[in-house]
Amino acid sequence: MKFKVNNHEVFASTGGRPFDKKKPLIIFVHGSGLTHMTWVLQTRYFAFHGYNALAIDLPGHGLSSGDSLKSIEQMADWVNDVIDAVGHKEASLVGHSQGCLVTVECTSRYPDKIKTLSLMGGAGAIPMNPELLSLAENNDPKAVDLMMDWAHGPAGHFGGHPVPGLYHINTGTMLAKSRTIQNTLGVDFRACDNYKNGFEAAKKIKCPTLSILATDDKMCPVKEGKKLASLIDGSQVDIIDNCGHMMLLEEADRVLTVLKKFITTNYPPLSS
């Protein structure tokens, strides 16, 4: 569906079901340079099971208009604006990679609104490799190829996607190249590199929190994810073996199973 935030049109996938204000809201926030499409194997389940599942395209990404936001703090406030714009008073947040920085910051800023937080491949800080950052800011497609290489674990490089026929490295590459690289990936990488408040923000979080980490994640290693989780009271941690940073595609079923249990327990759906 499309709606406006700060006078710019925002696109959010609703998981194939109509938006219904009566249902609790889950917002899925994608990673650097990507789009709502990365969540297709998680959102549709929640949309069919009593939730409004909104997989948003950040400004300037995917089908959303406007310019990309330049800081994680701006993105966090923007997610809060999305909750208001769709007429909800509260939401559950799910983030991947950069989306984790955004949702951690948002939850710390708006603690009364955010009811659960789910982090996938998250860390308290995501400093960027300077050469990768430079490639992305200079619109070099090699930045996307490097990101897709590093973001997939050894097993993920072979494929074997749960959706028959879908080859996820090429799909991820196509998503990241769907808009001008320097305006999406370049801006996002710089925002991640600049963001220093993750650990402090984590200490303020009181809502139920889940961290899903992967043993072969080179971009946000398990050690970093655990460090972040240790700062959040009562945070749960689930570690997926033989999987890289793109866990929501590489191990889509496993991620959905863990996420389903956590969210339905802590933020129940509207019963039919």
Binding site: G16, R17, V40, H161, Y167, N170
Partner: protein, 443 residues
Amino acid sequence: MTDKKKELKPNTYKFDTLSLHAGYQPHKNAGSRQVPIYQTTSYLFDDVDHAAALFNLERGGHIYSRISNPTVGVLEERVASLEGGTAALATSSGMSAIFLTVMTLCEAGDHLVVSSQLYGGTVNLFRLTLPKFGIKCTFVKPRDTEGFKKAIQKNTKGIFGELVGNPGNEIMNMPEIAKIAHDAGIPLMVDATYQTPYLCKPFEHGADIVIHSLTKWMAGHGSSMAGILVEGGKFDWMQNDKFPTMTKPYEGYHGLSFAEEFGPTAFTMKARAEGMRDFGPCLSPQNAWNVLQGIETLSVRMKKHCSNAEEMVKYLSNHESVAWVSHPSVPDHPDHELAKKLLPNGRGSMIAFGIKGGKDAGVAFINNVKLASHLANVGDTRTLVIHPASGTHSQMDEATLKFAGLSHDMIRLSVGIEDIDDIKNDFEIGFRAARKPRLVSNQ
């Protein structure tokens, strides 16, 4: 010593590695090194919730082998990886892949612009069968790039062609025709059977959908029928209102919009969810496995096919019984320069040549070669020959034959990977018979 900084390079697997490994993880299949053949019709659901989730496309997985099958799924991913595509859907034959592509794209009242130089069965599909579904086509000669532009109408939904036409070896200027298609907001669909992704990756030249008869070089051994459609993932279905079945809520899946939900894989998802469900041209797991065996050696075979073909071009070009030779490697072939650009790894192993003496000589040649097989296939490891005017394209009338660039003296040769001297020796037998058709012909 100077400390040289190492340049960052992506380490994703290369073509030959993907040919052997893409789409398959042994640790998820009991450690089986070879891809298992899942000879089953259907798959257990964990519970009712799981069943509903699969039917609603909420999660990936298999329901019924008409829609998907794990062995076939490995083949689909493998071809998608080799083509540089986002997703693929395998079918029971190349023709069913073309039909499914058209039916996923078009509705009654739509129009397609189609290259005139195609396999005879494909010509008949576009010329005679699709009009029965309300889909009309305008044929354009493959070298008439401007003709493609002129033929586009308000209701045109795409351009279709074989990259190298069958059997005359005319090459479509894919980058220019892709631009024409994209300027009109429609996709370019390319049948790249003759090339395989080893010789050409059409997505790098602007194609949006690539189709293969896997029966040919991809499988390579003349054992199994199979087809596939592969999606490039770049085409924006939402850029205009031409593709409502991709962009508007689809009643068959609870109001799903394929373009919104599946973005760069939307076309394949629709072709599977709607096309395989409703038409059902599914590939058998045994045939998928056979094709996978072929793909494991694709680059090795294609190198030999191409080197043998170039030898045969030289041999035929200098032969007293040959009137003309058409192959993109020949310097005076009209598309020689374009072929160098689009087919950098080799110009393929299909040769068309004219035999002196016309139709009778052609018949005598075909009837007397012993090593080369006379049959209606191409892309076998073995050398194959046919006389198109009396075989693959025999259902065409004179005018259509002429428009398709076919002549009665034409012999189509699919060069195999036998020892090149043995192929030449066999052809000498055929040419001798062609020079004295009544004395040597066995008919």
